[in-house]
C-alpha cells in the first residue's frame, strides 16, 4: 500500500516518505494545535524536532527555538555529505562497461 506521502507530509500529516507519525507524535501534534493554537504544519515541525509535550514546547518558545522542516533537515544533510567530498544522488554518465 502506497499513500500520497508527498501530500501528507506537506500538510504535516506524515513524518517522512513511508513513515507515518507514531501515535504519541500524532497526539503531540493535535495537542499543540488544540492547546497552543499552532497550525498543523508548524506543530508537525516542532514534533519532528523532538518537541512532543506542551511543556517542552513552552520551553522551546522561551528559548526562541526555531524548528527545522523535513526539507531543511534533508537539504542540510545533503550539503554535509557533499562537503565531505561524497556525491549524493549523482547519476553516472558515459558508457557502461560490460562485465563478462
Amino acid at each position: 500500500m502506497s499513500l500520497n506521502w508527498e501530500k501528507l507530509i506537506s500538510q504535516g500529516r506524515a513524518k517522512a516518505p513511508n513513515v507515518p507519525w507514531t501515535d504519541e507524535e500524532h497526539q503531540a501534534i493535535l495537542a499543540l494545535m488544540n492547546e497552543r493554537g499552532l497550525h498543523r504544519m508548524s506543530a508537525a515541525n516542532f514534533v519532528l524536532n523532538g518537541v512532543v509535550t506542551l511543556e517542552a514546547y513552552d520551553k522551546a518558545k522561551e528559548a526562541e527555538f526555531k524548528p527545522k522542516s523535513l526539507k531543511e533537515v534533508t537539504d542540510e544533510a545533503v550539503a554535509a555529505v557533499k562537503d565531505n567530498g561524497a556525491t549524493f544522488g549523482a547519476t553516472k554518465t558515459g558508457k557502461s562497461k560490460k562485465k563478462i
Partner: protein, 328 residues
C-alpha cells in the same frame, strides 16, 4: 484400472469440477467478503481516491438563476499493488495407479478451503492489527500497512482530513470516554452516537449508521444477548431494548478470535455501517483462487495442478468501520 496419461484430460475435468464445487462453498462461507469490498480488477496497481463530499452546490435559487456547479473536495489517495499467492496440488503416481480418486478430490477440496481460509485470515488481520503501529508482518511474511489513507492507524481517536485541521474518531469508546471498552451495551450505544454525529471535511453532519456488530466466536453469545434481547439486561421488564431494531446484523467471524501471529484477540469487536463499510475496507482481486490444468508430468511422475490468486488489501476512508480491543 489405473489412471494413465490418456486419462489426463478426464481427470483434470473431474478435479476442476471438485475445485469449483469447493470454491463455491468457500465463497459462501467467506466472511471477510461481507465487510471488505471484494472486487474484480485488471489494474496491477489499484488507485483509490477518497472524495470528501460535495462542498456547496445545492442552493436556494432565484427565478431564472443558473444552477451552481457542485465542487467536490478531493480527499486522500492510495495505491495498492497486486500480489500473487499460490500452491500446487500433487497427484502422485500412487494415487493414479491405485485409482484413489477419493484422495485426489479431497486434496483439491482441502487446498481450496485452505486458500480461502488464508485469504479470510489476512482480511481479519487487517482489523486485528489496526490499533497500533504503522505496519505488521502478515501471515505470508510480507509487510502490510495498517494505516488508513490519511496516514493514521486504522482505528484512531483522531483521523485527519485533507485540507482541514478537523479530526474524527473510529476508535470505540464508552460513555465515560474510555477507549477500547469490552463488548457491552453502553459502548455499542456510544459508538452509534459517535457515528451518527460524524462530520465530513466541510463540517457537515453525515450520519453513519452502525448497524452491523462484528465479533469473534467467543463474543458471539454475548453479542446476540445484547442485541436480540427484547429487554435491557438488569432493568425492569418494561424497558425495551432499542438495539434490537438499530443493530440489524451480527457478523460472527471466528477468525477474529486469534490473530495470524497467534495473539489472543477474542475480546476485540467491531461495528460497521453495512451500506458503506466497503468504502473503508478494500480487497481488489485481479484473480480469485483458480486451479490450472497440469500440462507437464514432473520427474516424479506427479501431475501438478497449480492453484493461484492475485489480490491486495487496503484501507480506504476509515469512518465506516469502528473497532475496540475490548481491554477496558
Amino acid at each position: 484400472m489405473a489412471y494413465t496419461s490418456t486419462d489426463f484430460s478426464t481427470l483434470t475435468g473431474k478435479l476442476n469440477e471438485a475445485f469449483n464445487e469447493a470454491a463455491s462453498v468457500s465463497m459462501a462461507e467467506w466472511i471477510g467478503k461481507q465487510v471488505f469490498d471484494v472486487i474484480d480488477t485488471d489494474w496491477q496497481v489499484y488507485n483509490f481516491l477518497h472524495v470528501n463530499g460535495a462542498g456547496g452546490g445545492f442552493s436556494r435559487l432565484a427565478e431564472g438563476q443558473q444552477l451552481p456547479v457542485v465542487s467536490s473536495q478531493e480527499g486522500d489517495s492510495a495505491n495498492w499493488t497486486q500480489k500473487r499467492y499460490g500452491s500446487r496440488v500433487a497427484i502422485t503416481k500412487d494415487l493414479r495407479l491405485f485409482e484413489r480418486y477419493d484422495v485426489m478430490e479431497s486434496l483439491v477440496r482441502d487446498e481450496v478451503d485452505y486458500a480461502f481460509n488464508r485469504i479470510d485470515q489476512t482480511m481479519a488481520d487487517i482489523l486485528l492489527n489496526g490499533f497500533s503501529g504503522t505496519s505488521y508482518t502478515d501471515i505470508f511474511g510480507d509487510a502490510q500497512a495498517n494505516t488508513s489513507v490519511d496516514g493514521v492507524v486504522l482505528f484512531s481517536a483522531s483521523h485527519t482530513y485533507n485540507g482541514t485541521a478537523s479530526t474524527y474518531r473510529n476508535l470505540i469508546r464508552n460513555a465515560a470516554t474510555t477507549a477500547n471498552p469490552a463488548l457491552d451495551r453502553d459502548p455499542i450505544v456510544q459508538a452509534r452516537t459517535d457515528a451518527m454525529l460524524y462530520k465530513d471535511a466541510s463540517g457537515i453532519n453525515r450520519p453513519i449508521n452502525l448497524d452491523n456488530l462484528i465479533v469473534g466466536a467467543t463474543n458471539a453469545d454475548l453479542a446476540q444477548r445484547l442485541v436480540y434481547s427484547s429487554g435491557v439486561a438488569n432493568t425492569p421488564n418494561v424497558d425495551i431494548n432499542p438495539l434490537k431494531a438499530a443493530v440489524t446484523k451480527i457478523t460472527i467471524w471466528p477468525r477474529l478470535d486469534l490473530r495470524g501471529d497467534g495473539t489472543d484477540t477474542k475480546a476485540y469487536w467491531f461495528m460497521a455501517d453495512s451500506k458503506h463499510v466497503k468504502k473503508s475496507l478494500k480487497a481488489p482481486f485481479a484473480q480469485k483462487p483458480m486451479m490450472h490444468s497440469s500440462k507437464e508430468v514432473d520427474d516424479t511422475l506427479d501431475w501438478m495442478y497449480p492453484v493461484d490468486a492475485y489480490y491486495t488489501l487496503g484501507i480506504g476512508w476509515a469512518a465506516y468501520i469502528r473497532g475496540s480491543t475490548g481491554v477496558n
